[in-house]
C-alpha cells in the first residue's frame, strides 16, 4: 500500500496538470455539445437540447466537404513525403558520410515556425513579385494567382506541406537505414540477389517499422492542418481549401456557435481516435507479417 502511495507522489503533479488541460476541458466540451450555446444568438444560453447539435452535424454538407478537402490534401501530401523521404534517405545513406552533416540544414523547414512556412508559400507563389510565382505565371503554366484559384490553391498548399515535412520522413528513414543489421544483406549477396531484389526483400521489410512511425505521425498531424492554410488562403477561395480544422475554427470562433462547435470537436476527436487505432493496428500487423 505504501508503495502505491509513493508512486502517486511522483506522477500526481503531472496528473493534475493533465486533468486541467486535457480531461476537464473535454468533459466541458462534451456537455456543451448537448446544449444550445452561442455568443451571437441570445436565445441560446446553454439550455439542454439533446442530440440536436449532432443531428445538425450529420446533415451538414459543409462538414462533409471539409473532410473531402482534408483527404484531398492528405493523400498526395503523405505519398509525396513518403516517396521523397525514402529517396532522400537512400541517397544520404549511400552518399559520402560528410553529406550527413547537412541533415540539420535539410530539417530547417520542418522545425521552422509553421506560420513562417505558410508565409513562404504565400510570398514565393505570388504572381506579381514571388520568386516562383513570376516564372510560373510568365511561362503560362499557371494563368491565375495560384492561391486565389479553385484549381491551384489546394495543390499549392499540398506542395508547401510536402516541402515542409519530407525532411522529417527522410531523417527518420535515414536513421533506420543506418541502424539496419548487416547479416541479411550478406545472406542476400550469397543467394545472388540483385540490387532491386535486395531492396524489396531485405531493406524494405527491415525499414518498414520506421516508415510506419514516420507516416503515422505525419498522417495524424496532417489531419489537423491549420496554420499553413490560415496564412496562405484562410480556407478560400470560397471553401476550396477549408480543411476540417479551418471549418471547425470558422464555426466556433467566427460564428461563435460554441454548442455546435463542441459537437463538431467531439466527432472529429472520435473519428481521429478510431483512425489512429485502425491505422496503427493495420500497419504494425503488416510490419510483423513481413518480418517473418
Amino acid at each position: 500500500m505504501k508503495s502505491t502511495r509513493f508512486v502517486w507522489s511522483w506522477i500526481l503533479p503531472a496528473f493534475l496538470l493533465f486533468l486541467i488541460i486535457g480531461i476537464i476541458p473535454f468533459l466541458v466540451a462534451g456537455s456543451y455539445s448537448f446544449r444550445a450555446y452561442s455568443f451571437t444568438d441570445s436565445t441560446a444560453k446553454g439550455q439542454f437540447i439533446g442530440l440536436n447539435n449532432y443531428r445538425r452535424l450529420v446533415v451538414d454538407p459543409d462538414f462533409y466537404h471539409s473532410f473531402a478537402v482534408t483527404f484531398k490534401y492528405i493523400i498526395p501530401a503523405i505519398l509525396g513525403q513518403g516517396i521523397l523521404g525514402l529517396g532522400v534517405a537512400l541517397l544520404m545513406s549511400s552518399a559520402a558520410r560528410r553529406m550527413r552533416l547537412l541533415v540539420p540544414i535539410m530539417l530547417l523547414p520542418t522545425l521552422l515556425t509553421p506560420v513562417v512556412i505558410g508565409l513562404v508559400g504565400l510570398l514565393t507563389l505570388n504572381p506579381d513579385f514571388g520568386v516562383l510565382g513570376i516564372p510560373l505565371f510568365k511561362s503560362g503554366l499557371v494563368k491565375e494567382a495560384m492561391l486565389g484559384s479553385a484549381k491551384w490553391a489546394l495543390p499549392a498548399i499540398t506542395v508547401v506541406d510536402i516541402w515542409h515535412w519530407y525532411p522529417f520522413v527522410a531523417v527518420i528513414l535515414l536513421s533506420g537505414l543506418l541502424s539496419l543489421p548487416k547479416e541479411p544483406y550478406e545472406a542476400a549477396q550469397v543467394d545472388g540477389a540483385n540490387a532491386i531484389q535486395t531492396f524489396l526483400r531485405v531493406t524494405m521489410p527491415l525499414l518498414w517499422p520506421y516508415l510506419v512511425v514516420a507516416l503515422l505521425i505525419r498522417i495524424i498531424d496532417a489531419f489537423g492542418i491549420f496554420d499553413i492554410i490560415w496564412v496562405m488562403t484562410r480556407g478560400g477561395p470560397g471553401t476550396v481549401t477549408e480543411a476540417i480544422s479551418v471549418y471547425a475554427y470558422r464555426n466556433t470562433f467566427r460564428y461563435w456557435n460554441l454548442g455546435y462547435g463542441s459537437a463538431m470537436v467531439m466527432v472529429i476527436y472520435v473519428i481521429m481516435e478510431i483512425a489512429v487505432e485502425i491505422l496503427y493496428n493495420a500497419l504494425t500487423r503488416r510490419a510483423s507479417a513481413e518480418q517473418v
Binding site: 502505491t4 508512486v7 511522483w10 506522477i11 503533479p13 503531472a14 496538470l17 493533465f18 486541467i20 488541460i21 486535457g22 480531461i23 476541458p25 466541458v28 466540451a29 541517397l91 544520404m92 552518399a95 559520402a96 547537412l102 541533415v103 540539420p104 540544414i105 530539417l107 523547414p109 522545425l111 521552422l112 515556425t113 506560420v115 513562417v116 508565409l119 513562404v120 510570398l123 513579385f129 520568386v131 513570376i134 516541402w163 525532411p167 522529417f168 535515414l174 536513421s175 520506421y210 512511425v213 505521425i217 489531419f223 489537423g224 491549420f226 496554420d227 496564412v231 480544422s245 475554427y249 466556433t252 470562433f253 460554441l258 463542441s262 470537436v265 472529429i268 476527436y269 481521429m272 481516435e273
Partner: protein, 296 residues
C-alpha cells in the same frame, strides 16, 4: 596453343577494363549523389532565405516584377515594426510563455517520466492513451474546450491561458522523451545509490539526473521551439497585450497594402532562434522529432 596464349591476356584485359569502368560508375554515382544532396540543400534553404531577404529590402525592391537579387540590406523594416509598432513586446511575450511552459512541464514531467520508467504504475496503458491522445489531437479540437474553460475562469487574455494550452503538447513530449532517456540508464545505478544511503528521491536527484542531463537539455530546447512556434492558441487565447510573436504575424497581413517587408522582418525574427537551435540540437533531432519513437 595459339588460342590459349591469346585468350589469357584478353581475359585479364577485360577484367581490368571492367574494374576501371566499375570505379568509373562508382565515382559517377558519388558525383550524382553530391549534386542531388546539394540540390536538396538548395530546395530546403532557398525559399526561406528569399523570404528572409524580403525583410531587408525596400518596398520598391520587394514589389519589383523582376526579382532584385543584389540589394543593400536595410534595417528600416525591422526598426519600423519592432520599435515604432512595438512588436518587440511580442518577442518578450513569446519568451515568457515558452519559458514558463517549459519550466512547468519539466518540473512536473521529469519526475513522472522517472516513475514511468522505474515503477509499476497502475493503469499504465490508459496513461499511454491519454498522453498520446492529447499530443495527437488537432489544435482546434483542444482549443475550443480550453477556450470555454478559460472563459469561465476569466483566464482569457492572460499569460496563463497560452501557457496552460502549450502544456497540452509540451507535457506529453517531456514525459514521453524523458521516459526513454531514463530507460537508457541502468536500474543498477539507482540501486547502488540507495544502498549508499540515498532515499529514492536522492538517488533520482544525485545519481540518475546527472546522467540524463543532455537529454533534459534537448527536451527543454525542443519544447521551447514547439512553444515558440505555436500559432492557434497564441492567437485565440491571448489579448493584444499577451500575444506571442508567431500569432502576431497574420495581423500584419491585410487584403490590400500589406507591408511585406515588415511581415518578413517579423518572420525572420521568429525563425532565427529556431535555425540556431537546430544546430545545437543536432544529435537529438531524430529522437525529438519522432516523439522518441526512433532513437537516432
Amino acid at each position: 596453343m595459339s588460342n590459349a596464349t591469346t585468350t589469357a591476356p584478353t581475359v585479364m584485359q577485360t577484367r581490368a577494363v571492367r574494374k576501371r569502368t566499375l570505379t568509373g560508375t562508382k565515382r559517377l554515382l558519388e558525383w550524382v549523389s553530391y549534386v542531388l544532396t546539394a540540390l536538396i540543400v538548395v530546395v530546403s534553404l532557398f525559399p526561406w532565405l528569399w523570404v528572409f531577404s524580403l525583410g531587408f529590402k525596400t518596398r520598391m525592391e520587394i514589389l519589383s516584377p523582376n526579382i532584385v537579387w543584389i540589394f543593400k540590406p536595410s534595417l528600416t523594416n525591422l526598426y519600423e515594426v519592432m520599435i515604432v509598432k512595438g512588436y518587440w513586446k511580442f518577442i518578450v511575450n513569446s519568451l515568457i510563455i515558452a519559458g514558463t511552459t517549459v519550466g512547468l512541464c519539466l518540473l512536473v514531467g521529469v519526475p513522472a517520466a522517472y516513475a514511468f520508467s522505474r515503477f509499476p504504475i497502475p493503469g499504465k496503458r490508459s496513461w499511454f492513451y491519454l498522453i498520446l491522445t492529447i499530443r495527437m489531437s488537432p489544435a482546434v479540437v483542444i482549443a475550443l474546450p480550453l477556450y470555454i474553460l478559460f472563459a469561465r475562469f476569466r483566464l482569457l487574455g492572460s499569460y496563463a491561458a497560452p501557457i496552460l494550452a502549450h502544456c497540452t503538447f509540451t507535457l506529453p513530449f517531456v514525459i514521453w522523451l524523458m521516459r526513454g532517456f531514463f530507460d537508457d540508464v541502468p536500474r543498477e545505478i539507482d540501486a547502488a545509490a540507495m544502498t549508499d544511503g540515498y532515499t529514492r528521491f536522492g538517488a533520482f536527484w544525485h545519481a540518475v539526473l546527472p546522467l540524463v542531463k543532455s537529454g533534459i537539455v534537448a527536451v527543454a530546447l525542443f519544447s521551447l521551439i514547439f512553444s515558440w512556434n505555436e500559432f492557434l492558441y497564441g492567437l485565440l487565447l491571448t489579448s493584444d497585450v499577451t500575444r506571442p510573436l508567431s500569432a502576431s504575424i497574420p495581423g500584419l497581413i491585410r487584403p490590400h497594402g500589406t507591408l511585406w517587408g515588415e511581415v518578413c522582418a517579423v518572420a525572420s525574427t521568429a525563425s532565427l532562434p529556431v535555425a540556431v537551435l537546430i544546430f545545437v540540437l543536432q544529435r537529438h533531432l531524430v529522437r525529438g522529432l519522432s516523439f522518441g519513437a526512433v532513437k537516432g
